[in-house]
């Protein structure tokens, strides 16, 4: 009983690249479907991901909105909605990090890693499901926005592009969240950590107020961070205005996040224990 067995079984061990790719896609969809079912069945997730952004819309529109002055002739609700949508996409990733940390703790990831499925599928399935979930949430927020007076002023195609950009932005944040969820591995810590970096990043940006209203030292940060670039681009797509500079900076930042955090998340998954 020895090494002599190796050659005879090497054939079935190495399915063709195409077959492996097909299985990776199939496994990803199976995992994604499972994640979406869980999302729909857990009221807390639904509240966290749908009700919370709707509350933000209402609160900023009617509570803070009256006190916030926007330079020029733009109404606050038109200024606000791209910001809320971006923030919604970013905050939706809380659920990504928490779910992965939970699965890790409960041994679900161990079980899946001990099975002959595509190893990438747990991560890609999670990302596919969360992107879908994010898109649904964004569309709900847009609809609520329409209810409180928001309008796209720049035509249908830019409006669609804005939703696409918000989703891609959310996916990028999702990768960071997946990495933190797997690396930290404890639900409560993951949640606390998410607050520490996501809150400043979204609120110290152009999402809710004009940056000119902030003190100078804060403007320096707010003007030069990725969330501001992305929100400015989304805003330009939604209501018109100059777009070029912010668009390229957004693309560069998002590409950078994918390049850095994609491999980091995969590595954290492989090492997860």
């Amino acid at each position: 009983m020895t090494t002599a067995t190796a050659p005879t079984i090497s054939l079935p061990d190495e399915p063709s690249l195409l077959a492996r790719f097909r299985w990776a896609v199939s496994d990803t969809m199976v995992i994604a479907r499972r994640n979406l079912i869980v999302w729909i069945r857990v009221p807390a997730y639904l509240v966290f991901t749908v009700i919370q952004p709707v509350l933000f819309v209402v609160m900023f529109r009617y509570v803070f909105g009256g006190a916030i002055k926007i330079p020029g002739s733009i109404s606050y609700v038109d200024f606000l909605m791209p910001g809320i949508i971006g923030q919604t996409a970013a905050f939706a990733t809380f659920a990504t990090a928490i779910a992965l940390a939970q699965e890790l703790k409960k041994g679900v990831i161990d079980r899946l890693r001990s099975m002959p499925m595509a190893r990438s599928a747990v991560l890609t399935g999670r990302l596919v499901a969360d992107t879908g979930r994010m898109l649904v949430t964004i569309l709900i927020v847009v609809a609520v926005g329409y209810g409180v007076g928001f309008r796209f002023h720049n035509g249908a195609v830019p409006a669609i592009l804005m939703v696409v950009l918000a989703t891609v932005f959310g996916l990028a944040i999702c990768l960071i969240a997946a990495f933190t969820g797997l690396a930290i591995g404890d639900e409560e810590s993951v949640q606390a950590f998410g607050l520490i970096w996501l809150f400043p990043l979204t609120f110290l940006s152009s999402a809710f107020v004009p940056i000119q209203s902030m003190p100078g030292w804060l403007q320096a940060f707010a003007n030069n961070q990725p969330v501001t670039y992305v929100i400015n681009t989304m805003r330009a797509l939604a209501i018109g205005g100059p777009i070029e500079a912010d668009l390229w900076k957004s693309i560069a930042w998002l590409a950078g996040i994918f390049i850095v955090f994609g491999p980091l998340a995969v590595r954290a998954y492989k090492r997860a224990s």
């Binding site: 009983m1 020895t2 002599a4 067995t5 190796a6 005879t8 079984i9 079935p12 061990d13 299985w23 199939s26 496994d27 199976v30 995992i31 499972r34 079912i37 869980v38 069945r41 857990v42 409960k106 041994g107 679900v108 161990d110 079980r111 899946l112 890693r113 001990s114 099975m115 002959p116 499925m117 599928a121 224990s273």
Partner: protein
């Protein structure tokens, strides 16, 4: 599949694994013939889970070699994953999904077609007595049912070799017995089984062979009977309410004991191995203690426990050590340490 089925189900040679300066495994060897059950017995942190994680391809070993179903767990990990099942210490199921959905999901990930996974799920629900609960979310299940579902999930791919990491830890006695029945029937069905446990009686009930692991080393191997004979058979145990009479009590039972006598100064518990003498030893002990005028409480014979095996094998009690390196001692371990010293 053209595969050598003559070798053992599991073969482990010189396996080592360290996490930083914590040496979880320090060179263990195991052989589990096909169709047999190996019980891996040891306290928390002995290295049981680390060994299981290496054998199920979740962790890479530092040194040594491990073959599962004739395949190398490092170089042929993908093939190994096709022939194993793993059921861990906690129920690795999706609580929001129903029992049936959980099993069908695993079936789909084993690349069964939709109808195939449905049939396989139905078979397993039947086999594990979960048909009535099949349509309910798993979070409404009792602890025992969740473990059964978890075990069922590990069998979806019809594994040749099954790993059960402490399958009954945390279960109530009735669920534990039900789990034993299931495991026994799996073994009868010809599955090669590696089972880790902290309980000697569990290994005794289920395993053909037992290895005892402590601090990452195999310190004893054999059948349950062989191990128990090293303890000195059954254990006579009683409490002396008056601590001042403890040494009198220990002296009084000198005539009944075959093994070493232990007395715990804190709790007043005295224990001694009595070999196969059973109730004769009990009667002798009662007479001797009565003659010595020592009052006792709860005088009884009991089967040897893991603690007794550890005392006999290592001279020290079962010591708990966490895998991440933090040392901690369980209440039981502490008590026995005092015992060992006295």
């Amino acid at each position: 599949m053209t595969q050598d089925n003559s070798g053992p189900g599991i073969l482990v040679e010189g396996l080592t694994k360290s996490f930083g300066d914590v040496h979880a495994l320090r060179g263990i060897d195991l052989v589990v013939p096909r169709g047999t059950v190996l019980g891996v017995l040891g306290p928390n942190g002995a290295g049981k889970t680390t060994a299981v994680r290496i054998l199920t391809t979740l962790l890479l070993p530092d040194k040594g070699r491990a073959l599962v179903d004739g395949r190398d767990v490092v170089r042929q990990a993908a093939a190994v994953r096709r022939s194993i099942g793993l059921s861990g210490q906690s129920a690795a199921i999706q609580e929001e999904l129903t029992g049936r959905e959980n099993l069908e999901l695993i079936g789909r990930l084993f690349h069964l077609s939709r109808p195939e996974s449905r049939i396989r799920a139905a078979q397993l629900l039947e086999q594990f007595d979960l048909v009535d609960a099949a349509g309910r979310p798993a979070k409404t299940y009792s602890g025992g049912m969740q473990r059964r579902l978890d075990l069922a999930a590990s069998l979806v791919g019809r594994p040749q070799v099954l790993f059960l990491d402490e399958p009954t830890t945390g279960l109530d006695p009735r669920s534990r017995l039900a789990m034993w029945d299931i495991i026994r029937s799996l073994a009868e069905g010809g599955t090669t089984l590696l089972l880790t446990t902290q309980y000697l009686d569990e290994a005794d009930e289920l395993a053909d062979e037992i290895v005892v692991i402590d601090h990452g080393l195999v310190i004893a191997a054999g059948t349950a009977e062989e191990l128990k004979s090293r303890v000195g058979g059954d254990v006579l145990e009683f409490t002396v309410p008056d601590r001042n009479r403890l040494s009198d009590a220990v002296n009084a039972i000198a005539i009944v004991g075959e093994g070493e006598r232990h007395a715990d100064k804190e709790t007043g518990v005295v224990s001694v191995g009595v070999g196969g003498r059973g109730s004769d030893a009990l009667i002798d002990a009662v007479r001797a203690l009565d003659a010595g005028g020592v009052q006792t409480r709860g005088l009884a014979l009991r089967r040897p426990s893991l603690d007794d095996v550890f005392l006999a094998l290592t001279g020290h009690a079962a010591e708990e050590e966490e895998q991440n390196g933090k040392r901690r001692r369980g209440r039981r371990a502490k008590r026995d340490e005092t015992k060992a010293k006295s």
